[in-house]
């Protein structure tokens, strides 16, 4: 329990650090956001009036304090460009990202763990070579390539699936595969190596001496042990997917967190960018705590 409290305190520290960092970085970038917003041909007074209304004329520590006290109340400021509260925008975008993540993660895990297990059981034989090639492709090909390739193949060539996301589940298939592809590759490789490490463990001999066949022993005893590092990786991947997939969401036109962050960058919308980054950091921190929790449930040696 004290460990849990310590972890939560850690999360708060991380979030504070992220806030300071993003705040400072955005202020270092030259150029006045008010001027960008109004575009260059507006007279000076208008720009100054807007600058003042955005609190940008105040000293930096005061600006930060204002931001922090707002954030504690759940108010992440007003988006310059969209003229809406950042909190509302983030919460609007988040469900799309969640939906994409659920599909992508499901694909990555089922595919990744499945391929990894088959590879390990048939190691150094044909299925293994084949799957190792596929998972290497999974890790090394960038997301946008996969996304474009999938669109080409399934929309232009065979017109089986929609080009972009239109709200239907079918249109979520391609984005999910594109986003899950990389994770599937790394999950497959980790599952394979982790399971093969178990092959020499004496407890598998014990399981066979009890009367399990070697395959049963590997799948019932070995796989559970092999899953410990894989689960950690899965949880980390899950939280990084949940924090927004910029490329996938842009290519397939999904109005999720990644797309929101991208548009914030494009329009120099500082409050919105701060808000999305902070929210992502929050999700990733929570993801880490959850992965620790799952590991503790699985591995009794971690319970103190």
């Amino acid at each position: 329990m004290s460990g849990f409290i310590r972890r939560c305190a850690g999360v708060i520290l991380v979030l504070l650090g992220v806030m300071i960092l993003i705040f400072v970085v955005l202020r270092i970038i030259p150029g006045n956001p008010a001027a960008v917003l109004l575009n260059e041909h507006v007279n000076k007074e208008t720009i100054e009036r807007l600058t003042a209304s955005m609190n940008l004329d105040k000293p930096l520590p005061e600006q930060f304090f204002l931001y922090l006290s707002g954030a504690l109340k759940g108010d992440l400021g007003q988006s310059y460009y969209m003229k809406q509260p950042v909190t509302a925008l983030v919460l609007q975008a988040f469900p799309y990202t969640v939906k994409l993540t659920v599909f992508a993660a499901a694909f990555a895990w089922i595919f990744g763990i499945g391929v990894g297990v088959i590879s390990a059981i048939h190691h150094d034989r044909l299925p293994d070579y084949l799957f190792r090639g596929v998972s290497l492709l999974g890790i090394s090909v960038p997301v946008f390539m996969i996304a474009l390739f999938l669109q080409y193949l399934f929309y232009f060539k065979f017109s089986l699936l929609p080009l972009v996301y239109d709200g239907s589940i079918v249109s979520m298939i391609l984005p999910a595969i594109a986003l899950g592809w990389n994770s599937a590759g790394s999950v497959a490789r980790l599952t394979r190596s982790s399971l093969m490490e178990q092959f020499n463990e004496p407890y598998l001999d014990t399981a066979m001496a009890k009367g399990l066949t070697s395959r049963q022993a590997i799948l019932s005893h070995g796989l559970k042990n092999a899953m410990v590092p894989v689960i950690t990786m899965l949880a980390l991947q899950l939280s990084s997917m949940l924090s927004g997939a910029v490329i996938t969401e842009s290519v397939f036109g999904i109005a999720g967190l990644g797309k929101l962050a991208l548009s914030a960058v494009e329009t120099r919308d500082m409050p919105l960018l701060q808000g999305t980054v902070l929210f992502s950091a929050f999700i990733i921190s929570i993801g880490n705590i959850i992965s620790d929790f799952i590991n503790t449930c699985m591995d009794p040696r971690l319970r103190v």
Binding site: Y203, T206, M208, A209, G211, L212, T213, H221
Partner: protein
Amino acid sequence: MNDDKLLEIKDLTVSIKQEKEMMPVVNGIDITIPDHSIIGLVGESGCGKSMTAKSINHILPSFAKITSGSMLWHEPSGQVCDLVTLKEKDIRKRCGTDVAMIFQEPMTSLNPLMCIGDQIKEVLMIHKLEKSQDRAKARVIEMLDAVEIPDPAVRYRAYPHELSGGMRQRAMIAMAMIANPKLLIADEPTTALDVTTQAQILDLIKKMCETHSMSALIITHNMGIVSTLCDYVYVMYLGTIMEEALTDELFRNPMHPYTRGLLSSIPRMGDNPEFLETLPGNIPVNKEKFRGCRFCLRCSDDIKKCFFEEAPLHKVSDDHYVRCHVAAGKED
């Protein structure tokens, strides 16, 4: 000793794959395990004793294979079955129920993510010896009690890392015994334990053999264990049986220079403490096929013949055989 045979290992050869060549590590050994008796198999590390044990229930590592020989299992009904020729599915039916095994390292031999009770219960479930989970659990707790684990109902839920080495080995013994096997193979059962625990575990194994009228094959490098536990002993060196005899006979009248070396390596109270007797040299690397006696390079009384010709197993008496030219010569 009993004359009814339980398991007869005949001319067993186990080979390992080395650079695409099969290299024998167990060379045509014969071991007979009678009913209700404890047999010892003694030798240094790497002599092939573990390979012999693992070949019985087909858990050899993937690079090792039984290349010849037979292992005849005598059923109580009188039927004989060769374990070597069994398919995986059929040998697994016998594992746990006919042949059980305990290992050297009780920490790594138990699944760290499962509580010991469930691991023991699994034996009953695999072989469908108990249909109800509750009945099975009760039997496991009974068994934990029988192997003298205190507070068995609580310990049922203990994970391996929560138990001491001795307790873990007791749990392993409970797992081996739960389905009443006819043969227990114990591969260095006490090597990883401290001395006081060793004695308790050996006592327990002996007690279990008596109460369950079971035979045991004890694999060890420790002559002390052999003398307290075993009825009959096989001494193995580089994959070959060098000497076999009733335990008393072997300790009274060791004939092979290797057996004598092993026996004189046991430190005794009151001996000259500055000098501990050891066997000279190391186990040679078994690279090419050698025609002579495997032990001749480390032997103190070898003769020329030893280099060119392997000695046959010479019968000293009905309960004593030795594979040595010199010892055989002395006898004549």
